[in-house]
Amino acid sequence: MGTILELQGVSMSFGGLKAVDSLSFDVRENEIVSIIGPNGSGKTTTFNVISGLYEPDSGDILLKGESVAGLRPDQVHDKGISRTFQSLRLFSNMSVLDNVLVGMHSVTDAGLIASMLRLPKVRREEAAMRVKAREILEMFPGRFSGPRQQQPAFSLSYANRRRLEIARALASEPALLLLDEPVAGMNPMESREVMEQIKVLRDKGYTILMIEHDMHVVEGVSDRVIAMDHGVKIAEGTYTEVANDPQVVEAYLGKRAAEATA
């Protein structure tokens, strides 16, 4: 299995605060890696650095051996990393289908003149995009069927909006999918369903790096777990290894509790 993503000593600070401090880890092909950690431990900042929203102060980020550190978000996306957001960021007034079509922007190439003249080439591309988008939406059986594809995104239920965001991220068939708390705010039944869908994605060959607080989900899908605290990686390994790591217990429950369990 080849390495898809590799972080080498990535640091990112805001003013005096080191949000991420020489973080290194890697994600291998067709693997699901979860990042856990208390609030403010630098997980989302790590995501933002990987996806190009922030430039790292130092360190490098390699996607299949190629540096993507300091690239703009759209360039990072072009290289093959797509993401979802913790606070949903859909194009709320656009239709469900259009949301997915926007996700395909970087893998399609109809130009200005061709689009204006609606050349046969463009029509073909557009038709193919729609077929593909429907296929992706069908990965969530029954959720986006029929007329619902034409509804505006804001009219969807909360859980469906989360699903749509994943669908949009999948539209470009990324080499690496970043999911920022995919089951946040869902009830247990819904989160179990999303968990199953994440497993389906792995079976389809996707590589996933995700942030998650719901330990059932983390336990259920992760091949590996990385624990962070104060911007530093404090543990890495299988779910059981990490969950029993005294440092991790300390980070979540405090020092006294950690001593008690040890």
């Binding site: 703009r72 926007v102 970087s106």
Partner: protein, 380 residues
């Protein structure tokens, strides 16, 4: 809210008629209109009103790309119109004793306006919406003042006069055909000829833009407007997409400016005041941002209707102008407060306009959510 109910019902009924019916109907009326003049039923002055209205339709279509699709407010849009008009005036008038071929001049006018759009867009497009609006306003004023001040080049406030009429073929070819018959049709100098020329240009522009609106590029513009951060994270290069929309809209304005210069024979900085930019903005707001039929309607209503009223009332020009602007101002305020999506709204803007109160919106979402949970039980 009786009034809003009525407008809602009317627009609802209007929306059930397919859009193509309106497009074809509008085009037919526009084509027939000059025939009424030829038949002697309508004065030629109305044909002139028609030409100017069509030029404003074109400007509104252009401004709509940045305002309606990408969501950027351009308050100096008329500057690009000025670039086109002055390029044409300098290349086809006694000023420098040039008479370049019509097609070359028109294309060059559009190109120069596009270059201006690129130059101003490149450093400013990362600014947030309201700052961008003010920068474009400053740009528009700089262009106008520069035109006024560069007297050697532009004749300053006096403007450039005697712009030649467009010829569709080269000089030699025209002479060999003689000056009557087909040759007379190859020189565009009658209002009716201008009318059809501009109408053809407007129709083509509208079709091209509406294709673009429903393409990958149009979707990218809309996505940037809805949520820029999400759009760039979904692979859209914000700077390139925004620049494209600004440059394209500048090109359309330059093109319209060129036709305007040819048509009016005389141009001066007076035609490119800030107020003119505001008028075009007003047309787009009235008709409906993002809606192509909307902005066409907006431009015609605001350009032609006042002329009709003026004729009917027989008012003096200057006094009438004051009332006209006053009403424009009121229209903008009333529209953004009561019907921000415009007369013939675009789907996205209508949705945008009707989710004003976030709490209200959350309530709708919650009810839909509950509904959906119920559905799921039914499915099982």
């Amino acid at each position: 809210m009786r009034l809003s109910e009525v407008t809602e019902r009317v627009s609802g009924a209007a929306a059930r008629v397919p859009r193509s019916v309106y497009a074809v109907g509008g085009l037919v009326i526009a084509i027939i209109f000059p025939l009424l003049n030829m038949a002697g039923w309508v004065e030629t002055a109305w044909l002139r009103v028609g030409v100017i209205s069509l030029l404003f339709v074109m400007l509104s279509l252009g401004l709509n790309i940045v305002m309606g699709e990408t969501g950027l407010l351009n308050l100096g849009y008329i500057a690009f119109f000025a670039f086109g008009a002055y390029t044409t005036a300098l290349l086809s008038s006694p000023k420098f004793e040039l008479r370049w071929p019509f097609l070359v001049v028109v294309v060059l006018s559009a190109l120069i306006a596009m270059v201006a759009g690129f130059v101003i867009g490149l450093p400013t497009l990362r600014l947030r919406g309201d700052y961008l609006a003010i920068v474009t306003l400053a740009f528009g004023e700089i262009v106008r003042l520069t035109i006024t001040n560069l007297q050697d080049f532009t004749n300053g406030p006096n403007g450039i006069t005697g712009i030649y009429s467009p010829r569709l073929v080269g000089e030699g070819a025209l002479e060999s055909l003689g000056s009557t018959g087909p040759a007379a049709w190859l020189v565009i100098d009658k209002p009716v000829e201008y009318y059809y020329l501009v109408l053809a240009c407007v129709a083509v522009t509208a079709v091209l833009i509406s294709n673009l609106k429903n393409s990958r590029i149009g979707r990218a513009w809309n996505a940037l407007r809805e949520d820029e951060l999400a759009a760039v994270s979904a692979g859209i290069t914000a700077s390139r997409a925004k620049l494209l929309s600004v440059v394209l809209s500048a090109g359309i304005a330059g093109f319209a400016g060129s036709l305007f210069a040819y048509y009016s024979n005389v141009i001066s900085p007076e035609s490119f005041l800030f107020m003119q930019s505001v008028i075009v903005v007003c047309m787009v707001v009235l008709g409906g941002m993002g809606s192509i039929p909307g902005v066409i309607l907006g431009a015609i209503v605001l350009q032609a209707l006042p002329q009709v009223i003026r004729q009917a009332a027989g008012a003096a020009r200057s006094e009438f102008e004051v009332y006209r602007m006053l009403i424009f101002g009121i229209i903008i305020v009333v529209m953004v407060i009561f019907r921000p999506e415009g007369l013939l709204p675009d789907t996205l803007w209508r949705r945008e306009a009707h989710e004003v109160d976030p709490r209200e919106q959350e309530k709708t979402r919650q009810s839909l959510f509950d509904l959906e949970e119920g559905e799921k039980d039914l499915e099982v």
